[in-house]
Point group: C2
Chain length 239, copies 2
């Protein structure tokens, strides 16, 4: 509810107001800090902002055309999400994924994803989303679109969590996934980082569809150990 798109009857004389940066952009209804958080988050997972990099308040607020205050609100949000790190009187930095953070994240994933699968109901709407994600991934693989494969993979696992029917769990997992992508960014999107997992996902969703939840959960456990190992392996090379 509550739309907000009547504007007019004002016609202020100064012409600099609504001009963001690029033209043809007038929606953007949400508060500035939230929009900033979303945009910066996107820059983080796209790799445009690299781990360890310092984010100067002055530079960023000018670049994004917002006040320092608003920017700081966004920084605080992202810091709480774990994507940024705050050092007193020194500024905020892009979090650098470490072995221990990867391990921690996979502990979370194992608990949540396996737990969700274990009690999954085979007619849950999320199952359909899982299936679609798998098919999309396959399709992308044919086109060697590894970025697309990675994206479909994220969708798949988010759908797994959604099996639990918990808004809080979904939100939490979204944050975890974003943090993990920060780690992926360091490794690029090579074929063998995603491709082998498509078939495991397929197996898993098939098991769920056939109401064999326990086996699905077990298979997910295998998936996660394998995935974790691949990432840690690729990780220690960059060390």
């Amino acid at each position: 509810m509550r739309e907000q798109t009547q504007r007019a009857t004002h016609d202020r004389p100064d012409g600099k107001h609504w001009g963001r940066n690029s033209m043809t952009e007038m929606a953007e209804s949400l508060p500035v800090a939230d929009r900033l958080a979303r945009d910066i988050r996107a820059m983080l997972i796209s790799g445009e902002l690299k781990p360890g990099q310092r984010l100067s308040e002055a530079a960023f607020s000018e670049r994004l055309n917002v006040s320092r205050n608003s920017l700081r609100e966004a920084f605080r949000l992202l810091t709480k999400e774990g994507l940024l790190q705050h050092e007193a009187n020194r500024g905020v930095f892009v979090s650098v994924p470490s072995m221990s953070s990867i391990i921690d994240i996979y502990r979370v994933r194992r608990l949540i994803e396996c737990g969700a699968l274990l009690k999954a109901w085979h007619l849950h709407p999320a199952v359909r989303t899982m299936r679609q994600a798998v098919e999309a991934a396959k399709s992308c693989r044919l086109r060697s679109d590894w970025q697309g494969v990675g994206s479909a993979n994220m969708t798949f696992h988010a759908a797994v969590v959604d099996l639990s029917d918990s808004a809080r769990l979904n939100a939490f997992y979204a944050g975890i996934a974003a943090e993990l992508r920060l780690g992926f960014g360091l490794l690029g999107d090579p074929e063998d980082l995603h491709s082998p997992f498509i078939d495991m996902n397929d197996e898993i969703v098939t098991l769920v569809e056939n109401n064999r939840s326990a086996e699905a959960a077990s298979r997910m456990g295998d998936y996660l150990t394998l995935s974790e190992r691949v990432i840690l392996k690729a990780f220690e090379k960059t060390l």
Copy 2:
């Protein structure tokens, strides 16, 4: 890495600096927004701030001797935690727990706490914490200190989550627990809201100590269904 405790060799001449408001208070090194968030969080779980209540920026910033900007940063943090709710152009309100939010929270608890127990190791340090919390609760019960029982209960379940050895899971659970306490606030701390659960906790930790994790997890499932039912029951009366 990077500790932050060398400071000195500065000794600035002006003496008015660290005086906050009341005297005899000189530590408080953390940023204002974080301190605010902590304090307001305390007011929320103590019931000093009641669900549904609106928190005026002007009034609160004056009362706490901080600027509106700093207060807004804290509000944003607490909103992300789910303790406050933000309505555009209307302000922030203390979240009012609902049936659906209680149910959601218990879904989270079941998944996380049972999952953590299922793979618990009987020599994990957290087991000791669990045992101590149970004994503390018993001791409080003898003294009819139901507030203390509730507190010990919180400690117990936090320790259960800590069995998973995941910093992120611990942090997430802390938020969930705070949100749940918001709901408790509406119900007071009567004996029969906490007392019957002390023995179940005892059972659970005993099972873990004897390396019978699966049974412990199952028992925790019982605990949670029961606890949820009690709360929902007490809840629909206030409706």
